[in-house]
């Protein structure tokens, strides 16, 4: 494979461009809502009307508005149809071509994405191809400038300058903690060892978060390319993707992607006729939240119980089988190809002072528009919840938004003018986390929410360290006592102290962050707690 061949593949794909495109989402929420049947009906209708030379139907990844699926989009007009059923297919086809028999009534409800705030407020880097390309066709990814970044690094850059470019971009890890990606790469690159590994963390354990699932289902090659570039930069020749077992379609699309990349010589030995070799294997998780934590995840890849170990040594020094290991999140890797193609300067012009680029959020809970959005860092919660999410259904009022899952916190509606970036969210007692944003309305009691998350952490604690194993149980019992109206003021003090202890003394991030939902609700929603205290 060389650049000429790559461009020939892209050229062949672009010959489809003058056709009218009907794109139907066949992943995630739309798949559950029968998207595949809709797509098949569209294909059939086009065939029967013999419109194949002017209309092309394709199955694509997530368009974002998951609550309204199945979604179908027409291009070049950009018209979007929601809640499409198989019966609607003939109407949609009729609307694009005068040649189709059109005894049909109007197609179902439609939007113009360039006028709807859910779409106009977005800036899509990671999701650039989602909803546009067929995730199972490598040619479509290549036609969308895919694998150009890999070509560029292999033929025009040395590993040091790749690391430097990523450092300059200001990209920070999207898996939760926001560690500077360039710095992590530099550490692994510097480590002396003949064996190094790359791991893509696709364990996505935070309930309410589905960004990584969607990226993998909609544009798997972007993640593979990001891993390849990283491998070249740090000098690794073996990569693993650790995916949750709950995501069969993501696993399937990754397997297809790896097979196709191998066939084109983009994975394997002598990639792009250079001396770079790289191989990627998939490891399927088995349902343990703690395995998202990097040291536990590595234990799991080694076939053991997913139990974390103290750091240092960090994986960058001693990771998988004791070798230097680079571990990044799915979304982090997905940013890489575009940064390489468009440059660090371009990337760092987006976002805020200390948080560059965009963030993908999965907007869920009590809002009208739920789904996946990608916004520049620094977008306010009000814009996300109020404008893009279109507020709470049935005229309800938002009470809080929860970010960061069981390690995060709840931000009250009064503070929705906060811009989202790593630091601002932390100041409010929450974290960016992986990107789940769950809206809660006035009917939600925050003590109940805190108890819900504590139950989660209690169940998912691996049991290795006592503060986490026993502390979460005690915290859960205290919260239950409060909810049952049996607690007194002194118990709130106890609750705070215990939170502090678990935070300070736990071994890994799970325990250290487990009290966050309690602390943040105590801080912002004290009335919910006070209202439940016993009067005695």
């Amino acid at each position: 494979m060389d650049l000429k061949e790559l461009e020939a593949i892209a050229f062949r794909e672009h010959q489809q461009d003058d056709k009218i495109r009907i794109r139907c989402c066949i992943v995630g929420g739309c798949l559950s809502a029968n998207g595949l049947a809709v797509k098949e009906q569209l294909v059939k209708t086009v065939q029967e009307a013999d419109l194949g030379d002017e209309v092309a139907v394709s199955g694509v990844g997530c368009m974002g508005l998951c609550s309204k699926g199945p979604l179908v989009r027409l291009d070049p007009s950009g018209t979007l149809y929601d809640r499409v059923s198989s019966e609607d297919a003939p109407k949609i086809v009729a609307s694009v071509s005068p040649r189709a028999s059109s005894s049909q009534s109007l197609p179902p409800s439609q939007y113009q994405p360039d006028a709807h705030p859910f779409f106009t407020k977005q800036l899509r880097i990671v999701l650039e191809n989602s909803g546009k390309i067929d995730p199972e066709k490598i040619a479509e990814y290549i036609a969308a400038d895919g694998y150009r970044g890999l070509y560029k690094v292999l033929r025009e850059m040395n590993p040091e300058s790749v690391v430097e470019e990523i450092s300059q971009s200001g990209l920070r890890g999207r898996g939760g903690a926001g560690y500077p990606t360039g710095l992590k790469w530099a550490t692994v690159a510097k480590a002396q060892s003949d064996r190094k590994f790359i791991i893509c963390n696709a364990d996505e354990g935070d309930p309410g978060a589905f960004m990584d699932r969607s990226i993998l289902e909609s544009d798997p090659h972007r993640v593979l390319e990001g891993m390849m570039i990283a491998a070249y930069a740090v000098g690794a020749s073996q990569g693993y993707i650790y995916v949750r077992g709950e995501y069969p379609l993501a696993i399937n699309h990754l397997q297809t992607g790896i097979r196709q990349a191998k066939r084109l010589g983009l994975l394997g030995t002598g990639i792009f006729e250079s001396s770079f070799d790289f191989k990627i294997d998939i490891r399927v998780g088995a349902g343990a939240f703690v395995c998202g934590e990097e040291t536990a995840l590595m234990a799991s890849i080694e076939g053991k119980r997913g139990i974390p170990r103290p750091r240092p040594p960090y994986p960058a020094e001693s990771g998988l089988w004791g070798c230097p290991t680079l571990i990044n999140n799915v979304e982090t890797f997905a940013n890489i190809p575009t940064i390489i193609r468009r440059g660090a300067k371009w990337f760092s012009s987006i976002g805020t002072e200390n948080s560059k680029g965009t963030k993908v959020f999965s907007l869920a809970g009590r809002v009208c528009n739920t789904g996946l959005i990608e916004v520049p860092m620094g977008t306010t919660l009000q814009q996300i919840v109020g404008e893009m999410g279109d507020n709470v259904p049935d005229g309800g009022k938002a009470k809080a938004v929860q970010t960061g899952g069981p390690s995060g916190g709840c931000i009250p509606a009064a503070l929705f003018d906060t811009p989202v970036d790593y630091e601002s969210l932390k100041e409010l007692g929450s974290i960016m986390g992986s990107g789940g944003a769950i809206v809660m309305d006035e009917s939600t009691n925050m003590v109940e929410v805190a108890q819900f998350f504590m139950e989660f952490c209690m169940d998912e604690s691996c049991g290795k360290c006592i503060p986490c194993r026993a502390g979460t149980v005690q915290l859960y019992q205290l919260l239950t006592k409060i909810r049952e109206g049996k607690a007194v003021l002194k118990d709130l003090e106890k609750l705070k102290q215990l939170c502090n202890m678990v935070q300070e003394t736990s071994l890994c991030g799970l325990g250290q962050a487990a009290p966050n939902p309690v602390i943040s609700t105590l801080r912002h929603f004290q009335d919910d707690y006070m209202g439940l205290l016993s009067q005695e």
Binding site: P207, S300, G303, K304, F452, F456
Partner: protein, 169 residues
């Protein structure tokens, strides 16, 4: 029959599934670190992990049975008990919780006189819960016999389960 190198992939019971499992282990060169992959395959073939099966795996990968058992019990995905003919998994993740999944679960529990995590006496239905299915955009979500259903209500989920129980799939 004693297990020797030559016939180690033929299980004394003659059950063909052991051969397939053995092929998987061979593909991983019987590496102990392939244990989780092997357990996944075993559960897919046998639907749950019996003690006998775990012993067989331990023997093949040359691992102490205690560590195979330890791994199998650590991960929620592996089930050491048989499941019912039909399964209904209710997502109890945050997004579904906020949209009333507790209500779905209680209705199902009442309807089938069944606690979450248990199987009915006639072995027809297992009621399970999940952390998050990644289908939060269509919350509350359930999985009935492997297919995800979004935007559920107490009525719709019971209707869906009834369909499964009476029409086979």
């Amino acid at each position: 029959m004693p297990i020797t190198k030559e016939n180690s992939n033929i299980h004394p019971s003659g059950d063909k599934r052991f051969q397939m499992l053995s092929a998987t282990m061979k593909r991983h060169q019987y590496a102990p670190d392939a244990l989780i992959e092997v357990l996944h395959q075993a559960q897919e073939l046998f639907s749950y992990l019996e003690d006998d099966l775990l012993l067989y795996i331990a023997h093949s990968l040359k691992l102490p049975p205690s560590s195979v058992y330890g791994v199998a019990t650590f991960y929620n995905f592996f089930s050491l008990k048989p499941k019912g003919v039909h399964t209904c998994v209710v997502c109890m993740g945050t997004a579904c919780y906020v949209k009333g999944s507790t209500n779905l679960l209680t209705s199902l529990e009442q309807q089938y006189q069944l606690q979450a995590g248990k199987t009915t006496f006639d072995n027809q239905l297992s009621l399970l819960t999940a952390r998050c299915l990644g289908a939060c955009g269509i919350a509350p979500a359930v999985v009935v016999d492997g297919s995800i259903e979004g935007h559920q209500t107490a009525e719709s989920v019971i209707h869906r389960v009834e369909e499964s129980l009476h029409h086979g799939s």
